[in-house]
């Protein structure tokens, strides 16, 4: 049954969801496969990959030797937990190509991480890796209703960042029209939406919000565009932001997940049910672990997401710790797909702030903030240590529509925001109102946290 695993057979079936609604799959055999068959495929691919990695990747071979694990010990996915983890530091220690499992002659492309959390890391792809990536990205586009008639407008950055080229190849694989807009020049992005008939857009959610702001400023209406869906990823965002993007751009907003170490965007993507992101499990095996004990957690529990690449040739990472906090849902989705869904990452283990001993995720603060004011998307969290006490200040830009003539209105606003955040995170924060456009706008990942403490409480364990 796996003969067509890489086939580009776009199948339309009918499912019963509020009446009958046609639903597309890019690769139905895999996306709707019974779990037992999927696991058999994963086991086969895992054993092969581990053998290949042991033979070709010296740093990982050393880890396996140290742990006393031999390639032949890994026969099925039940043996996965015997394998040592890979962490970002391994990529840094073996910079640039030390984790590659193939000779340079086989590598057709490299990408590099943005280096937001340290020195940049390099990843590589063979021609087959690029093809599988395009397959995953095509699945993501079909997940959200994409067809070859679509104009896929890619506003992720093109270049070393995986976002742009990743979705671009997916759009071409699907047979849609790719619009390689890349990030930046926001006014032109809106003109292209209007003139090129962009129907599916791919960008960071914070960039989508800034485009909505610009639309209002420049007098664009959502009816000027033909947008129907957007795949938004590369940074955490909330349900409130989803509603705001859907309302502002007149489309359905879907979550897209990926990381360069594993592949890039489309490791997982939401389907039209908007109920979690389907992981391309035939290529990546997910696990959820406790970041402290490193034990694998049962399905449904929240913890650190770990991926093992089972088809990658150039850089197949084994049990790579993503630092993203998420959970997995194995129930069959209403869309008919059986591929496991990961629920939206609830933050990262390494951007978790410890404020006066309390674990705080910036995403919690954002959710609380948006529950009071859904337009409050321009904010910065500033952490300081004053007299040995951590302080967390939420800096918020004012907007003409929340401003009147009196101090009272703004003071009340501050009080409501403070109350919502305090109760959400269990730590008292202070709120500071800023003049509009004070905070830097980002075209990629928005900078939301400024930690000025000299000794940072990081969640680094082991």
């Amino acid at each position: 049954m796996f003969a067509s695993a890489f086939g580009a057979d776009c199948v339309t079936v009918k499912i019963n969801r509020k009446g009958t609604k046609p639903m597309n799959y890019w690769n139905k055999d895999i996306e709707c496969a019974p779990r037992s068959e999927l696991e058999a495929l994963q086991s086969y691919r895992l054993a092969n990959t581990v053998r290949r990695v042991y033979e070709n990747v010296a740093p990982y071979r050393a880890k396996m030797d140290a742990a006393g694990v031999r390639p032949e010990d890994i026969k099925s996915i039940a043996d996965l937990s015997k394998l040592p983890f890979t962490v970002k530091q391994d990529l840094r220690d073996n910079y640039p190509y030390g984790m590659f499992a193939v000779p340079a002659s086989e590598v057709v492309r490299v990408h590099a991480s943005s280096g937001t959390t340290g020195k940049q890391t390099v990843v590589g792809y063979t021609a087959k890796d690029i093809d599988i990536w395009a397959e995953c990205a095509a699945r993501a586009l079909v997940n959200v209703g994409g067809t070859k008639d679509d104009y896929v407008h890619v506003s992720y950055g093109y270049g070393l960042f995986t976002g742009g080229l990743g979705m671009h190849y997916g759009a071409e694989k699907l047979g849609a029209t790719a619009i390689p807009a890349s990030a930046g020049n926001s006014m032109r992005q809106l003109e292209m939406f209007r003139d090129f008939g962009s129907s599916i857009i791919c960008m960071t959610p914070s960039y989508a919000i800034s485009l909505i702001e610009l639309m209002q400023e420049k007098g664009f209406k959502k009816s000027d565009f033909k947008l129907k869906a957007g795949l938004f990823g590369a940074e955490p965002w909330t349900e409130e932001m989803r509603r705001q993007i859907e309302e502002g751009l007149g489309l359905k907003a879907y979550d897209l997940y990926g990381l360069s170490e594993i592949m890039g965007p489309s490791v997982s993507a939401e389907c039209v049910c908007q109920a979690g992101m389907h992981i391309c499990e035939d290529h990546f095996i997910p696990e959820i672990i406790d970041p402290d004990t490193l034990e694998v957690l049962p399905a449904g529990q929240q913890g650190e997401l770990v991926f093992t690449c089972i088809t990658k040739e150039a850089m197949p990472l084994i049990r790579y710790r993503t630092r993203d906090i998420a959970s997995l849902v194995y129930d069959k989705c209403e869309c008919g797909r059986t591929l496991v869904r990961m629920l939206k990452p609830q933050g990262r283990t390494d951007d978790m702030l410890i404020i006066r001993g309390v674990n705080v995720f910036p995403s919690q603060i954002e959710a609380a903030l948006l529950s009071v004011d859904e337009k409050a998307t321009n904010y910065l969290l500033e952490v300081n240590r004053v007299n040995n006490l951590d302080t967390l200040e939420v800096q918020l830009e004012t907007r003409p529509d929340m401003f009147g003539d009196d101090v009272k209105t703004l003071e009340n606003y501050k009080k409501r925001v403070k109350a919502a955040i305090d109760s959400a995170i269990g730590v008292g924060v202070s709120i500071k109102l800023l003049e509009p456009k004070t905070l830097a706008r980002s075209m990629g990942k928005a900078v939301r946290v400024k930690d000025n403490r000299e000794i940072k409480n990081k969640f680094e364990k082991k």
């Binding site: 004012t398 907007r399 003409p400 401003f403 009147g404 003539d405 009196d406 101090v407 703004l410 003071e411 500071k432 109102l433 800023l434 003049e435 509009p436 456009k437 004070t438």
Partner: protein
């Protein structure tokens, strides 16, 4: 006789006031009256100027958060007890004043007062009925 007053949100940081003044100066705006309400981290600057539309346009293009509010101004003799007399009338008629500020009148012996109330029509009627002299934006500071 209502007057347009501009409110500008300003952060409490050094030089901010000068920035706003420069924006107005660059547009040739003349300020008739001004007051600032401040809190620990921000202030609201309230201004009455000679050309409200032009001032608002200049402030907005500079990225300021600004709004226009209607206020009432009246003039009273600069003698002890005259403001008390007006406040007494306002109070007797159940009018609540949100805020008030005084402006140095240009005519010797007169003081100009700006007030913000909830119901402008009622306040104008009460003041006029009691012989209080209302003034326009142009008359403010001009005597």
């Amino acid at each position: 006789m209502l007057i347009d007053q501009i409110s500008v949100f300003v952060e409490n940081k050094q030089g901010r006031l000068a920035d706003v003044m420069k924006v107005l100066h660059d547009s040739g705006i003349d300020i008739r009256a001004m007051t600032i309400a401040d809190t620990t981290d921000f202030g609201i600057m309230r201004l009455i100027v000679d050309d409200t539309e032009k001032a608002i346009a200049a402030l907005k293009s500079d990225g300021c958060t600004a709004a226009v509010t209607k206020v009432i101004a009246f003039t009273i003799p600069d003698v002890s007890g005259s403001l008390y007399k007006v406040m007494d009338i306002i109070n007797d008629n159940g009018i609540n004043i949100d805020y008030l500020y005084s402006v140095m009148g240009k005519t010797a012996g007169r003081a100009d007062i700006v007030i913000r109330v909830e119901d402008n029509d009622q306040a104008i009627k009460v003041l006029t009925d009691n012989g209080i002299q209302l003034i326009s934006g142009d008359e403010l500071c001009r005597g």
